[in-house]
């Protein structure tokens, strides 16, 4: 009976000891993925910003400019691409909708971002675009990979339609979370006009005929929770200008927008809460369960060996007492 128990304990010890690395290095990379049907929205605000008045073509100070960003996982499109890509793919249809202080639309930029659900590597397929322009992304956008490393990444800039390094600048604490801080500077770059302009009758083609061009620079800052790869906070020091051409009436340049874009407070709280709960799930798969199983395996093995050793110990010899001798 003792031997049977020790054998069962041995089987369980091997089971848990093997489960530990299998869970961490085989199951986790295959199970941790961005859900294809994810839907999320984000509100960012630039207070005391500068915004162009297209009526007078002059830059004016405004109380607030709001950016509503939505990302919606397109399951049907991802399943279609998965058939040829041979891997789990996520297709995000996104919209950056900018609203002025009067509640009217300033600009809207749709985009389609296609990427590997596990690694966050971009996947190139028909439909990948920014504002209707086909693009071929390099690097990441919106989110970092699971288990983010302390290194520079390549980040896609939707305005410039190109990718550039985003630098790891150190570890910070953001509302109780240890996060990695990343920063990217996009120097003044000529960028296309949005396809949808806020004034009726003005189109990118009609502006192009005047010779006026659109330029943009930004300092992009992200505070990224490293286990989930999710940014818990973001900021952008964003400037846009119109330069040259006949549209500006002899002026060299006019500011289209300038402001410090920050996440709205209620969205920060919501994001931090969400990331904290997702972080626990990642920790469960990468740390709590693998270490727990390993320790359990060692304990079970020790118990099994102890039982086995006891079973093999020879039984103590019995000493026959001499029978009393009768007189």
């Amino acid at each position: 009976m003792r031997r049977k128990t020790s054998l069962v304990l041995l089987a369980l010890a091997v089971f848990f000891a093997a489960l530990s690395p299998l869970l961490r290095w085989y199951a986790f990379p295959r199970l941790a993925k961005i859900p294809a049907n994810q839907y999320q929205d984000m509100v960012l605000e630039a207070k005391d910003a500068t915004l162009i008045d297209y009526g007078s073509m002059t830059a004016k100070k405004v109380s607030k400019v709001t950016i509503v960003q939505t990302l919606k996982g397109n399951v049907e499109a991802s399943e279609k691409i998965e058939k040829t890509a041979g891997k789990d793919v996520v297709v995000w249809d996104g919209l950056s909708y900018v609203v002025g202080p009067d509640g009217k639309m300033v600009s809207k930029i749709p985009e389609r971002y296609i990427f590997d659900a596990h690694t966050q590597d971009p996947v190139h397929a028909t439909g990948e675009m920014v504002d209707g322009d086909p693009v071929k992304r390099a690097g990441i956008e919106f989110k970092w990979p699971f288990l983010t490393e302390k290194r520079d990444y390549v980040y896609f800039d939707a305005q410039a339609r190109t990718s550039a390094p985003i630098h790891y600048e150190g570890t910070r604490n953001f509302r109780g979370l240890d996060v990695y801080y990343f920063e990217q500077t996009i120097p003044w770059t000529k960028v296309p006009f949005p396809k949808t302009m806020p004034v009726q009758g003005i189109t990118p083609q009609s502006i192009a005929r005047t010779g006026t061009t659109r330029w943009y620079t930004t300092i992009r800052k992200f505070w990224v929770e490293p286990l989930t790869g999710a940014p818990v906070y973001g900021e952008e020091l964003h400037k846009e200008e119109l330069r040259g051409g006949t549209l500006l009436g002899g002026r060299d340049k006019v500011t289209v927008f300038a402001g410090d874009v920050k996440m709205r407070e209620d969205y920060i709280r919501n994001t931090v809460d969400l990331v904290k709960s997702n972080r626990t799930l990642v920790l469960l798969m990468t740390s709590y369960l693998p270490w727990g199983f390993l320790i359990l395996g060692v304990l079970l093995l020790a118990s099994s060996l102890w039982l086995e050793a006891r079973g093999r110990r020879p039984a103590p010899a019995t000493v026959d007492e001499p029978e009393p001798v009768s007189a």
């Binding site: 089987a11 489960l19 295959r30 199970l31 859900p35 294809a36 919606k72 909708y97 209620d266």
Partner: protein, 54 residues
Amino acid sequence: MYQFLCREVDMRALIAAATGLALAFALVLTLTALGTPTGKTSPKPLLTTVPAHP
């Protein structure tokens, strides 16, 4: 006789260890093969108004 018993116990230990290992592989492979459900595309629209709250 003692040597025979030892060999028998070793074989049984080996079988027990192999069973544990096989079960661990079977469990992990099943879990990863099942994966996670993809679900359906959200019916919610891409926002063109400022939401009051998340």
